[in-house]
Symmetry: C2
Subunit: 319 residues, 2 copies
């Protein structure tokens, strides 16, 4: 506001008039983003049949026709007949080894492993569970309802929990903050809620038991007690920190939530719409290209943090 301070009073007055116009613009912009959200809902319905077919292929509910499986790049590959013959033999050998795999095994687990943001949350004990993940769906709030979206994680029946769907809902806000209208820049995730996972006895990977030695104060004898404590796991994603009534969070919870919102947005905006590209690595190669541009800093300690910063671009909740 250094500029304003030096202005003649009559000019400063007019600048205030422009600022009041700007507040009106922010409110129009909020309406714009609401309409974009409506559009997203409309298009979600157009994408759904394609996503359903994807899911059916992944879980072997549908075997695609030869025509559906034709991929131009394959035809263009310039291989000698000899090489082709060799590749064919190898493939057949692999097929025998794998004993007729159904659908696309470990499709979503592979997606998770291929995306840094998700693989960072992944623990070894999560992997056998995520092999049962069959689909991730995005559901938008109904028209007229407060803006939100729900990520649905669909599982096939498994030994770990009895739920068939795990959900995570993100509430959004698309209106300028009264006290700071100029910071408005499109819908923002404001809060999220998870779901209860009905773990089969002994299968809850979000808890671990540790043994602790306790010394009796009087007698000085030592005994070993078993204590249940939280355990690192992707499935903690479904129990995000609660925001207390006063809205104030400790630093840790705030960091967890910031990362959580980023992940939720990323799953909605990138993973669900283009899962196969994260499975094959094609979408990830693009990201790598971005990193390469900053290659000079590869040895820089800040390297990783920076990469995160840049990723932020993709997580911008604007459309």
């Amino acid at each position: 506001m250094g500029v304003q301070a030096g202005l003649p009073k009559v000019v400063k007055r007019r600048v205030n008039a422009l600022k009041n116009l700007q507040v009106k613009c922010a409110h129009i912009e909020a309406k714009f983003y609401e309409e974009v959200h409506e559009l997203e809902r409309k298009y979600a319905a157009l994408y759904q049949p394609l996503f359903d077919k994807r899911s059916d292929i992944v879980k072997a509910a549908y075997e695609p026709t030869d025509e559906e499986c034709e991929w131009k790049a394959d035809e263009e590959e310039e291989l000698t007949d000899e090489m082709k013959e060799k590749a064919k033999l190898e493939e057949e050998k692999k097929d025998e080894e794998k004993e007729d795999p159904k659908g696309i095994p470990e499709f979503w687990l592979t997606v998770f492993k291929n995306v840094d943001l998700l693989s960072d949350m992944l623990q070894e004990h999560d992997e056998p569970i995520l092999k049962h993940l069959q689909d991730i769906k995005v559901k938008f709030s109904d028209p007229g309802q407060p803006m939100s979206f729900t990520l649905e994680f669909h599982f096939e029946p498994n030994d770990f929990f009895t739920n068939t769907v795990l959900t995570k809902t993100y509430k959004m806000r698309s209106e300028p903050d009264e006290s700071d209208p100029f910071s408005f820049d499109g819908p923002e995730i404001m809060s999220c809620t998870g779901c209860t996972i009905d773990w089969t006895k002994g299968k809850n990977v979000t808890l671990k038991t540790i043994k602790k030695k306790q010394k009796h104060k009087g007698r000085g004898t030592v005994r070993t007690v078993t204590k249940t404590v939280p355990n690192d796991s992707f499935f903690n994603f479904f129990t995000p920190p609660e925001v207390p009534e006063n809205g104030e969070l400790d630093e840790d919870s705030e960091a967890v939530l910031a990362a959580d919102f980023e992940i939720g947005h990323f799953i909605r905006e990138r993973i669900v719409p283009r899962a196969v590209l994260y499975f094959t690595g094609e979408a990830i190669e693009d990201d790598d290209d971005d990193y390469d541009e900053e290659g000079e800093e590869a040895d820089d300690e800040e390297g990783e943090e920076e990469a995160d910063e840049e990723n932020d671009a993709d997580y911008d909740p604007k459309v």
Copy 2:
């Protein structure tokens, strides 16, 4: 594609089916962005009366009422009466010095100076010309026409050129590239065209005359010739490098165009919608906040480059 290579043939086949579904998704996405563009056109009409009023206030065609000039933050300032009195005297003194300024003098020039991306293009000789810039408008292509937008720079009559409007048009593309459908990520600027500036004789700041000594090959005598060569200027923005028929550009032109597209997008997305915030510096403070988060690297040689990288987020031609 490392993942795919190791897959059994029957699975690879199904992955190809998913990729074909993904191409269909990209085409639906293209339609989505076209509808968003329609929405932008609709909202441009809603913003326009506010922007017109802004322009009228800037160029003193309209004097805002006291009510329109009330700004909460002013009331909230906690100043002692003595301080207020002192400030008032200072302001009055300034007012006298400036001899009743009309509208908001040098509004757009100040915006240009406050935004690094624009001030980088600005030369000292451009400033007297940009004092005459009264408005920048964004005009979208008509429905059914190829997607594009035009930046209109409106000038008051001046001694430098006879045009009242200088224009720069950006053509966009919102459809997946046949040969690389997965790289599609929303409308992209594909090309731009400027306009002819009708410079008053001797006022063309995009050219300069240099004196060059020439030696006569035979006689060995030296004469001085005057040569006209290109000169750095913001007004070169209106004569971007032409893309030759074969579409191939030299490296320099490519860099100029990449920067140009970024600037065009930034003026459309940020400057025009929130000019007053760049005038006061309020929008810039936000940017500074972003830089501060990377403060640890302030001493880093790469520091500046990085800042640019981060800015890219804002210039992403997605909506």
